[in-house]
Symmetry: C2
Subunit: 302 residues, 2 copies
């Protein structure tokens, strides 16, 4: 139908992404990583005076913490549990025979204590709760993580493993709402500085199943989630490259996170979809980084 | 027994690592990441003239490629397969009831197309094979990945999720052996430049089970693996922070990787255990980065 190679194939051809044979799972070439690093440094400059505590998480988190988070209630279809072989010699012999015969061989894999991290903020809540009442004024975290969501897709902007840099604010309702308001101004300003045409929209998370429908409606009615959207590679419409989420006291209650005076803390977070931002920049400014508008190059690479 | 806090607890106290409740699974604080970034830039300087193709991999790889690699034959106990919930509403209801009752809830998780990457070189072999015969002189890759090995431990230098930067050479036996020889000189020089007392030793991989014993002996007899070892936090002895591996034609045969004249390529790789290197530096130079020897600071941060 379309003689033009797809955007994903163009990214493969030019070495920005490297195919793995699995939809949504790609190696990243050097130029792609330069785009990521450029935008990452723009974020770092933007938050230079925020006094945020910076933590980089590995791509997996504690299964016990994951279970407590409630993720399986809302998004069971997206989670990835990690399983390992815990057998002995004769189990191994059987496993190798199954593998050799092209049969299912993972029956003896047992669930481990590790679950792939679904969003960069999930591992921080139990850490924060364990520290006791927060200092006056609350706290802000600057987090990053590779994250996993099980949604194989040929849209390059819907990867199974992708990076999020995420800011999490915990404090009083006023502090938390002010944080989100601030980011709802900063986000568009940053995207305009790198030449991305955007709009902000009310949004909902992909809550699972029949019960999920009500949660989507409730989230929208209370205006808990906004997204910053840019047209990338989905012909059906633009893709979210940032989100702005107000959790009210959901995580504060779940984890027992308390403000200085002992009340249940509220939380909010703002996430940058780093891979989606890189893809949006490549889509809008083209695959020759040297030909990008000077103002964009300067913003990204100084 | 020991009134001194363990090295791991000291790292927690000073914020270099952040506990998750799971052994071998830690967040990384800002100063820890500065050490990682400093050593990473030393590597980049060292290889500036190597003309290596740089690829950054996500922490998971194709299950089909993983199966073909032979990893489950050698190290089944270390691998992590990724499983997801593929059920419908009533399965979800059952799952939530199991979770609420504190029962095993992962019975309906099905294996996905993703396996956690066990070493940064595993995803590159099928990519290289798919490109057809290599150019004359072969190729060299500069790879990085978060990797997973299922070996929970309270030794901070034995993490379940950790970063490897790895160089992979493919070519003729002469090219590949010369690459390993070069790194066996470069590695110690780099570690001396950052003040780490080291030794190089013949080594073997942790091949599984009774059959694995013979493989360990064979690997040692043929001198296929060397490690660069530094004392970190294991009272039983030093820990490998680099490895130098000669695969002969193992991966070339497995994947069908060919030299320019159509012969089966040989491969070798050199891996930097980035987290172990950071821990070795913190152990040897102390937890106050500003008090590190000037020559070390200058080498890492210029």
């Amino acid at each position: 139908m379309d003689a033009q190679p797809s955007f994903l194939n163009q990214l493969f051809d030019k070495g920005f992404l490297v195919p793995s044979g699995v939809d949504g799972l790609y190696g990243r070439g050097e130029a792609y990583e330069e785009v990521i690093a450029g935008f990452d440094s723009l974020i770092t400059k933007t938050v230079a005076n925020d006094a945020a505590e910076k933590i980089s998480f590995p791509p997996g988190m504690s299964r016990v913490a994951f279970e407590k988070s409630g993720y399986m209630k809302s998004f069971p279809q997206l989670a990835g549990t990690v399983h390992s072989f815990c057998g002995v010699d004769h189990d191994h012999t059987e496993l190798l025979a199954q593998l050799a015969a092209g049969e299912e061989w993972t029956g003896k894999q047992e669930v481990t204590d590790v679950v792939l991290t679904p969003a960069a903020c999930y591992p921080i809540y139990p850490v924060l709760a364990a520290r006791g009442n927060m200092p006056k004024g609350g706290v802000v975290f600057d987090l990053q993580s590779y994250c996993f969501r099980h949604e194989p897709s040929q849209d390059p902007a819907r990867m199974q493993l992708f990076r999020i840099r995420e800011f999490v604010r915990a404090g009083t309702p006023e502090e938390v709402v002010a944080f989100r308001e601030e980011w709802l101004k900063r986000g568009p300003a940053m995207m305009e500085a790198v030449g991305l045409p955007l709009h902000i929209d009310l949004a909902n998370d992909p809550f699972f199943g029949r019960g999920g429908r009500l949660m989507k409606v409730g989230q929208r009615e209370q205006q808990l989630k906004f997204e910053l959207l840019v047209q990338i590679a989905n012909p059906a419409g633009p893709t979210a490259i940032m989100s702005f989420n107000y959790h009210q006291d959901h995580f504060g209650e779940t984890w027992g996170i308390h403000t200085n005076d002992g009340g249940v803390a509220q939380t909010a977070c703002t996430g940058f979809g780093m891979d989606r931002i890189a893809l949006a920049l490549l889509k809008h400014h083209g695959l020759d980084l040297k030909a990008w508008p000077k103002s964009v190059s300067k913003t990204l690479w100084g």
